[in-house]
Amino acid sequence: MAKRITIDPITRIEGHLRIDVEVDNNAVSNAWASCTMWRGIEKILRARDPRDAWLFTQRFCGVCTTVHAMASVRAVEDALKLEIPLNAQYIRNLILIAHALHDHIVHFYQLSALDWVDILQIPKADPTATEKLAESLSPWTRNSRNEFKAAQDRVKAVASSGQLGIFMNGYWGHPAMRLSPEVNLLAFTHYMQALEYQRKALQVVGILGSKTPHIQNLTVGGVANAIDLDSPSALGMAGLENIRVLLDEVVRFINEVYVVDVCAVAAMYPDWFKIGSGVKNYLAVPDLPLDSAGTSYDLPGGYIMNGNLAGVHPFKTAADKEFRDSVSEDVTHAYYQGGKPLHPWAGETEPDFTGWNEDQKYSWVKAPRFKGEPMQVGPLAQVLVGFAQGHPLTLKHATLAINKIETIGGIHVTPDMLHSTLGRHGARAIRASMLAELAQKHLQLLIDNISKGDYTVHNQPVFPGHEVEGVGTHEAPRGTLSHWIVIKDEKIKNYQAVVPSTWNASPRDHSGAHGPYEASLLHTPLARPEEPLEVLRTVHSFDPCMACACHTFDPSGHQIAKVKVL
């Protein structure tokens, strides 16, 4: 008989992901993704000055602050047809890369590694054997017996105190956990080290953005960084050298630790290449512009339908006409008024809350569609779109990762296997190593351009008398982000943000088509339905982010997540 499982972090405040699955014979037979977040936040922007919008949009979310700031200035610049000086492009690119590297490290280690790593096994590991194993995998100098022993001792101390603290209530000892004690210890030691390296990446954002969270250096038309090679208070050689040192350390961590660990986990859980595919339509936008007009990019964009890599359609620009014309949002199953799907420039955000009803409305997330179809966004989309186009940088790093998995586990990974839960983790690691290489490239581009004597950072925006529309995109850590703006009389007439997690967490649309989370969960086997670790693995592989809108502290403990089995 079918069971219904609800995973719902009950918060009084809106803003969390809820997953309902129907389980039949220990496998998921149906799924609903919903979110309690009320998106009326965009209404705040109406009638404001478009030049100020980014300050507000970067407060949408506490994790993705910079990405919403960037998409916002780009939307206004697109509407005004405003070019950006080279220095500004490079500085923005460096911020985006550093933020993404921080984000990908935190996602894998702090937020999802413990779906695969079993804390209970760590005390059983032999630190010397762990060191030997680690040496066979990577040249990372901190893979030493001492570091492994220290991490193990810390876990032992916590375990023996009976106060598990942060590790209370994980699914430890779950039958779906299958790493050896030594691999568990190895990954866990890196979980601890990751905290230092994500911080170094964030320091780069802080140096260029003046402040983090909430960078201060953006402006419509460029950046507000004063460039002066000799002044300590401006961006000069000392600051740039500081950035280089930080990036070098982060890049080494990505290549020698993060990518290796993801490949090792993949090699040891090969069945997860067959689980979690779902929607095989992929969407990514080009990013990291290389010229002031935004005609060439270091990250490729485009779309793939039905998993047909050979039929990939590239996007030429970040605001490609095909992209602009093809996005709509469907509210059939979302708590909003309205009928047929609307283009974001005509988008409405009028609430119509009716309570959770699986056959009718059940989510605050609208269902974004591209050419009427649900799309999966995120690093996997970007890597597949690049791979299918023969993008050299993507091919290089994808091949390195695929070879690594083969070396460790003897598994031959084909592009087809990437449509999976592990494919999403693998693609994120591949993207991180691409970005690591690009970080150093864009720093050099900036230094070279400044060395030529170009100190320009800003072009003055000019508002036309008539109404204008713009779209600002960014290939963010979680995927394609787009901000859509309508400007009239130097004021914002309409503003809509179509964020990555709404593409992936989308509910069904008028045709009944599942969103990516929902589709990815179908057929997932569950060893213990009352402990749905497998559901979390797949949902976490998307790197969802929808909870950051509001952070009220509830001392009664009501933010405790609840797993309810009916």
Binding site: I13, G40, R154, D554
Partner: protein
């Protein structure tokens, strides 16, 4: 020299949830502090809050709260009150916030010795950039609470001779004036 972080937490676009950043900016505008005391508007951080609180001797956070108390009620929580309830399953990996941050910092051995939270009971979290009347009326009380705790921690503050404007750029110009002074 004691290193203390006074951090306002909350979303300035969601009504009373903006009270944390508001109080932080109010403190920065009106007072000078001992060297080592940092006042910051932290927005709505996730795990990166760890970086903000590590290497500090004490942290005083200011946040909106949701209890049965009347809107505007100011309540002081100490670390044990904050971590009393540990989250179970992280559905959305970006929801860890305060409790997880402190527990993680504890595990890594970098948590400040003192973690305090000055909570202000909210009236409304509707999208908007203004504080409700009852919360705006409690700003003084929240400020006093923060300053008292700071004093108890052994760090000094002085009123600025020439108070700066409160840089709450998100609030509409006709919002309630926070301090009558």
């Amino acid at each position: 020299m004691k290193k203390v972080l006074i951090g306002g937490i909350g979303n300035v676009l969601l009504g009373d949830d903006g009270v944390g950043p508001y109080v932080a900016r109010l403190l920065a505008a009106r007072y000078e502090f001992d060297e080592g005391v940092e006042v910051a508007d932290l927005g709505t951080p996730a795990l990166d809050l760890i970086d903000q609180i590590s290497a500090k001797d004490a942290v005083i956070l200011i946040d909106s709260i949701e209890t049965d108390a009347a809107p505007g009620t100011v309540v002081l929580y100490r670390k044990a009150d904050i971590v009393r309830h540990c989250p179970t399953v992280r559905m959305d990996p970006h929801s860890p916030a305060l409790v997880d941050t402190i527990l993680s910092a504890d595990f890594f051995g970098i948590a400040p010795a003192d973690v305090l939270l000055v909570g202000i009971q909210a009236a409304s979290f509707e999208a908007g950039c203004s504080l409700s009347r009852s919360v705006a009326a409690s700003l003084d009380k929240a400020v006093t609470e923060v300053l008292n705790e700071l004093e108890r921690l052994g760090a000094k503050h002085r009123s600025r001779e020439d108070p700066a404007d409160i840089d709450t750029w998100w609030t509409p110009k006709d919002n309630l004036s926070p301090l009558s002074a």
